[in-house]
Symmetry: C2
Subunit: 337 residues, 2 copies
């Protein structure tokens, strides 16, 4: 006798019909207890495991959620991913991990894959600024939530952190410490996060009654790495009117800067105050613990997933939301006054 696959074999063994086995799997409440047990036993005996593809095909709903980030290795996204995964898992969904590496091609490839899988939804930090192409997704009934991208697109949820405020917090803190000339070290200004943080800095300076042109010393680097941070120390120190404090757009930059400053015999915070961004794990644990701006990363992921699932499950009653978290200033030695 050939193989009678799946549910069918279970049904035969338990002496019930196909439909009943299906009910045991999906609506156990409407199966008589005795039958339920008999079927369960049959399932255990043959070690039956439901075929997800068949199930999804017929029922028309998958359990897939896509998470498209720029780089999993980035500790920021890593924490976000945990938040996503935790909630999705609890709700019975599973997460497909997609690294776009900032490449539009890779991003499109993944979007296509997720479309084929008829994912319930996609959490995405878009590599391309134009999010209109996500429209197609929405038309197919796939929920989309923008991650770490504030957005006013009406028919899309978004979850982000207020980078303007973050920049403002950092600058205000330094201004309160009596610094009137502040270096701002950052990567490409084209990146929204960086542009926003700068706007925050400018705002704080203006509020303090200072002239941004004079109070802010702009130092741009190519990539926001520790190496670049270290290399820009020279530039920083050679300014005719040297800043007494530096705000780095990211903790890695701050780390490099710190190292470079120590090498030059500049002590922190006495000769130069320092503030980073992201509050990565090691910030608190450096030789001179680093003041930094903390973002609710895990929460970001959780909330985004919550919105996504709500949209996926209640497409009609769902209200699109634009959630913006407020960052938090964590003061440590590097800027103590």
């Amino acid at each position: 006798m050939a193989s009678m696959s799946g549910i069918r074999e279970v049904a035969k063994r338990a002496g019930v019909s196909l439909g009943t086995v299906s009910n045991v799997l999906n609506h156990p409440e409407l199966v008589a207890p005795e039958t339920l047990q008999r079927v369960q036993q049959a399932i255990d005996e043959i070690g039956f495991v439901r075929n997800g593809s068949a199930s999804q095909l017929r029922s028309g709903t998958s359990q897939h959620i896509g998470l498209i980030v720029l780089d999993v290795a980035n500790p920021f996204f890593t924490e976000v991913a945990r938040g996503v995964e935790d909630l999705a898992n609890m709700a019975g969904y599973f997460v497909i991990l997609c690294n776009s590496d900032d490449s539009v091609d890779k991003e499109n490839h993944y979007l296509h894959v997720l479309e084929e899988q008829r994912a319930q939804g996609v959490l995405i930090t878009p590599a391309q600024n134009d999010a209109s192409y996500l429209q197609r997704f929405r038309e197919r009934g796939i929920a989309v939530v923008l991650l770490d991208r504030p957005s006013r697109i009406k028919d899309l949820c978004s979850v982000a952190v207020d980078d303007v405020h973050g920049g403002e917090l950092a600058a205000k803190h330094l201004l309160e410490g009596g610094h009137t000339r502040i270096g701002f070290v950052h990567g490409p200004s084209g990146i929204r996060q960086i542009a926003d943080r700068r706007r925050g800095v400018i705002r704080a300076v203006k509020m303090a009654g200072l002239n941004p042109e004079q109070a802010i010393v702009d130092i741009a680097v190519r990539t926001q790495s520790a190496r670049e941070g270290e290399e820009c120390v020279e530039r920083l120190l050679n300014f005719e009117n040297r800043p007494t404090a530096v705000f780095c757009a990211n903790d890695l930059l701050a780390l490099g800067l710190m190292r470079g400053l120590i090498k030059c015999g500049i002590s922190i915070p006495e000769d130069m105050a320092l503030v980073g961004y992201d509050d990565v794990e090691f910030a608190s644990v450096l030789a001179t613990p680093l003041t930094s701006i903390r973002q609710p990363k895990y929460e970001l992921g959780r909330m985004a997933t919550e919105l996504l699932l709500d949209e996926a499950r209640n497409p009609n009653s769902h209200q699109h939301k634009h959630i913006v978290y407020q960052p938090e200033l964590i003061v440590r030695e590097s800027s103590r006054f």
Copy 2:
């Protein structure tokens, strides 16, 4: 006229049969160029995207690969994940991210999900030491590769890093620096990695003709965090015959230790040499750059995936392998002599 879904509508529009459309999708080489183009156009016009579930159901093969790790937020796994994702993606598969959080329950849950999806294979760092239950997977034709777990199980591939050698490298380096009394700071000895690293240390000490009992000062902490590292400084310094060097089982511990030592006015490496493990990104960038043991994390992930895909695609010719990478000593200031 009701909706004629998918392939069927494409077929009608292009004036060909179902089979031909399917061929365009899966075996374009046996479709006449002219027909091919016509079908492609129809596909584009209606914006058709193949239904993955149906495809998988009928063809019997999925594109899913499961990656079950203890914690995505751990930078070690993060790099591994990148290696996995990169290769899997290139080969046309996609990765389902699973965080077991060291919980056997979560692990089992995910294994079940992956079984339902008929995943092509699973990369796993098992939370439970007994890997025999993975046998069921193998019987279902799902390939399994053990990640970061050396194993002699015959019918399973495994990829790992030689922790004994790692411990040996660290200790040997310190011994060569003239240290004859070395602190070994580590978390729970029940963890294989830690036990292995200790064995390496002992081996190196013996090779140097010293007595492990006297040369090694064992300092256990509960968790391998920076905080615990800092807290154990006191214990370290209060030994009657104080070690002149410390090997930490992990960079975070080393970081904490470093901070504690600096606070106590102990200078590194003059008064106390320090070696970490993992060579995390910030190791090179601390006030005193940290000597550490580097593991080929990305390569680990890539190789594991390669083995997995080979097994999934050539189940018959596939040869199970047990690959062990060698870690590398990266010497920096913290142990310079």
